[in-house]
């Protein structure tokens, strides 16, 4: 395979969303040779979809905020399965990461005295999200992208990694194809940072794009790294439900942060009907107080619409299941009602939520300043991912790092809105720094020719089979579609043992099917081929989600079981990990959470 192009880097970053870009910037600052691989064009990654903002306890709007409150909020939201060290670092470092973006040109919305404005979001005690209207993700990715392009980072756009290489225990490189010509590339690197994002394409209703096929999680798993907390998938409570072609597209939590309310078909604000015990003291018990909170009254408690995402999603499901839903199987999210309170409500909504206004106007013919939206839960985020060290972000494979959504730990059983963008920055930077350090401390690596041949054979296999494709039975799209249905129905928002086992069996059976899939055409920009190659990743992470979900016989955070509807304290003491056993099967282990230091325990106590 010597004819393949081999490209050398000290640090190779796979994925160019917020975490990947931040990692590449951090590594470049250490004066090592950095490569950045992205599946799409630069700047198109899923980070652009983030709307609400990034959580950081700047204390600009409410000076009672500080890292201790943010830490406690994150742990409470994650139901204490979080890696507490990551939650601590995140809360402490997020403010600096946000200010750094401003120094690189980001323009956040301002407070009256000219500082960075912060908004309310679910699960955050104080207004904490630095934001730009409802397009914060775009601002963040563009700022990072425009900063990174001047730093001498080699960017490989539209390039997909299909395998990682190892030299002994250490990771040593990656095998990729470029979309444009279908040429193979071998990357040799002393350290690799995975920043590939999530797994949303494993489900049929999702806010995620085609890229979100669990590549990083799957690549790491097959390279011997452990995955963790894969049972915790976040179903965002508010996705569009109508028309069918936009089903799943995200409706930002910012709508509720600005005063939007959830109602059922009878006009009832059903979120008041079920406020969990551990949030009762922080939640308004009447509409008046909730409204005052969204308008900045520091003495008011937050409305129940701003409870954590897992809880809001389940309440919506309950309304729909019990026959109180909207015509298209959702509930109503109403921001138009604020005209009863604000004189210039329509203008205010357009200013605060411009892309939501635009999105509903253009895709659903609905003017959100006059009409309620119809919304329902959509697969949005995976809390689980690659198990990493809290400080360095290194996985259980030496030299292999992970940051952002593809890594596990920070969010525990449920992620708070706004904690993702800050996660990308805090841990993207750490991963980049530690990867650069690792590359300096360790010597050169070699790549085994046999492994390159294997990867190449795997990548070409779909062309060499005959049978499926182009509509005649099970082409790559049909298989992906089938898998999405299995996961949505079997391991979705509400889970039961028998259904999950059935789904797991079906997923395992599909592995054979995926190995038979063939594609027409040639290697040049052939999405059928790309979809076929992504299948292995989707199947691997689907198996991981199902196995972990079956094992966790309780309900906690994003994982809700009809057969075990309550939280069970014995399940609050461990994380579930999955790794590849010697015989190639998936091995599940329950790993105890290390005891929290007294200082952090005290922080949680003081914020109870």
């Amino acid at each position: 395979m010597s004819e393949l192009e081999t490209i050398d880097h000290d640090v190779l970053v796979i994925g160019a969303g917020g975490a990947g870009l931040r990692a590449a910037i951090a590594a470049a600052a250490e004066n090592v040779k950095v490569g950045l691989v992205c599946k799409s064009l630069l700047g198109k990654a899923h980070t652009v979809m983030a709307e609400g903002g990034m959580a950081a306890s700047l204390g600009n709007v409410d000076d009672r905020d500080n890292w201790r409150v943010h830490f406690a909020d994150t742990m409470r939201g994650g139901q204490y399965l979080n890696n507490w060290r990551m939650a601590e670092l995140h809360a402490k470092e997020a403010p600096d990461r946000v200010r750094e973006l401003e120094a690189w040109g980001a323009l956040f919305d301002r407070t009256p005295d000219g500082r960075i404005l912060q908004r309310n979001f679910g699960g955050h005690r104080y207004p904490r999200l630095a934001h730009v209207g409802d397009r914060t993700g775009l601002e963040m990715i563009r700022t990072l992208q425009d900063h990174a392009v001047y730093l001498g980072i080699d960017v490989h756009m539209e390039c997909t990694v299909v395998a990682l290489f190892k030299d002994g225990d250490r990771v040593s490189g990656a095998f990729a194809y470029d979309r444009e010509r279908g040429r193979f590339k071998v990357f040799r690197a002393k350290a690799i940072v995975l920043a590939t994002g999530g797994i949303g394409r494993a489900f049929s209703i999702t806010s995620n794009s085609w890229e979100y096929t669990g590549d990083g999680q799957s690549l790491a798993y097959h390279a011997g790294a452990a995955l963790q907390d894969m049972e915790f998938v976040q179903f965002h409570p508010t996705g569009m439900v109508w028309p069918p072609s936009v089903k799943g597209i995200l409706v930002t939590e910012g709508v509720r942060g600005e005063g939007g309310i959830l109602t059922n078909k009878n006009g009832r604000r059903f979120m008041f009907d079920d406020i969990p015990e551990n949030y009762r003291s922080q939640t308004a018990d009447n509409e008046e107080e909730g409204w005052r909170y969204t308008q900045g009254d520091k003495n008011a408690r937050r409305p129940p619409e701003l409870l954590t995402r897992d809880h809001v999603a389940r309440c919506i499901m309950r309304e729909v299941r019990e026959g109180r839903g909207s015509p298209h199987g959702g509930v109503y999210l109403d921001i138009a009602w604020i005209k009863a309170r604000l004189p210039n409500a329509a203008e205010h909504i357009k200013k605060k939520l411009p892309s939501m206004y635009h999105q509903f106007k253009q895709l659903a013919d609905i003017d959100i300043t006059t009409t309620p939206m119809e919304v329902g839960p959509t697969t949005h985020y995976v809390m689980g991912g690659i198990r990493v060290d809290g400080d360095s972000q290194m996985s259980t494979v030496p030299g292999l790092f992970a940051a952002g959504e593809c890594a596990a730990g920070l969010h525990g059983a449920n992620r708070l809105g706004g904690n993702s963008l800050s996660d990308l920055l805090v841990f993207g930077k750490r991963a980049g720094e530690y990867a650069a350090k690792f590359s300096k401390e360790r010597g050169a690596v070699t790549i085994d020719n046999g492994a390159v041949d294997d990867a190449s054979r795997f990548a070409l296999a779909p062309f060499e089979r005959s049978g499926s494709g182009n509509g005649s039975g099970d082409g790559p799209y049909q298989i992906q579609h089938k898998l999405q249905g299995i996961m949505q129905d079997g391991v979705g928002i509400v889970r039961r043992d028998a259904e999950m086992r059935k789904a797991l069996d079906a997923v395992l059976a599909m592995e054979q099917e995926a190995q038979r899939v063939s594609v027409p055409g040639n290697r040049e920009y052939n999405p059928g081929w790309h979809t076929a190659l992504d299948l292995r990743n989707l199947l691997t992470i689907s198996e991981a989600i199902a196995r972990a979900a079956i094992d966790r016989k309780e309900s906690r955070g994003g994982h809700f079981r009809d057969d075990y509807p309550d939280k069970d304290p014995t399940f609050g003491t461990f994380n579930t990990t999955l790794s590849k056993a010697a015989d190639g099967s998936m091995h599940l282990e329950r790993i105890p959470i290390p005891p929290m230091p007294a200082e952090l325990k005290a922080v949680i106590e003081e914020n109870k």
Partner: protein
């Protein structure tokens, strides 16, 4: 709405191509990208198309629909006459790669030639700045850009006159405007705009503004103010005199 429609999709590569008809079922609320995906899944697995967010936020699925530059994900079928075939072609100002995918790499090279953001010294001892929302508003408009490059596609300086080596196009004039009007930026890009970036080629036909899916007022709010800065710097006779004298003073 009829239950099926014909899509006349450009299939080909750098060397050759043709329009191919595909008939596919349509339903309420569908956008052009849905139809393309359906065709891809059911009839042409290898139909090449870029897309990501499917919500008008990433700017990947730019194409020419019935001859008009648009995002496929934001173009509803209900806006189009479905009794005739819907033509879907790649952006014609860029070299085709395959089917609806074009080579937009030129844009990424151009951006690097524009001087990066350079902030003034922080306003507060803690290293932060103070900015009024009203000063930020103007630049936030430009920063809405999703880099779909539809403005580059429609600009006749690039499309018809192929001035890619001399003119950076509306997208990067907006980018330069965002930097020049950034409340914190202290870099000077005016000479570059005139010489390297060819701002003079723009004769404000406003086609870019018309196609912008983010409704950025490209010509009036970004390009014209930049042109004015160039004029002030290079063509203002009074200013020129002042400059000559101030230079003499310095020399003396």
């Amino acid at each position: 709405m009829s239950t099926s429609a014909t899509f006349r999709v450009w299939r080909g590569d750098e060397t050759k191509g043709e329009l191919v008809d595909y008939k596919t079922p349509v339903s309420e609320g569908m956008v052009v990208l849905d139809a393309i995906h359906q065709i891809q899944a059911e009839q042409a697995n290898d139909l090449a198309v870029r897309w990501n967010c499917k919500a008008g936020k990433c700017g990947s699925c730019s194409a020419e629909i019935n001859g008009k530059p648009k995002l496929m994900c934001m173009t509803r079928l209900s806006e189009l006459p479905l009794d005739q075939p819907v033509t879907v072609e790649p952006m014609r100002s860029f070299k085709p790669i395959r089917d609806l995918v074009t080579d937009v790499s030129w844009n990424f090279r151009v951006k690097k030639e524009i001087k990066p953001f350079k902030p003034r010294k922080p306003d507060a001892p803690d290293g932060t700045w103070r900015m009024a929302q009203s000063d930020v508003d103007r630049v936030q408009e430009f920063r809405k850009c999703i880099e779909c490059f539809l403005c580059q596609d429609v600009c006749h300086v690039l499309r018809d006159h192929k001035k890619h080596e001399e003119f950076i196009g509306p997208r990067f004039l907006v980018y330069a405007a965002a930097l020049e009007m950034h409340p914190l930026d202290v870099e000077d890009r005016v000479a570059d705009l005139k010489r390297e970036h060819g701002i003079g080629y723009c004769n404000i036909t406003k086609c870019c503004t018309k196609v912008c899916p983010e409704s950025i007022t490209i010509t009036d709010n970004a390009i014209i103010p930049l042109k004015e800065r160039v004029v002030d710097e290079f063509y203002d006779p009074l200013g020129k005199l002042v400059k000559i004298f101030s230079r003499r003073k310095k020399d003396a």
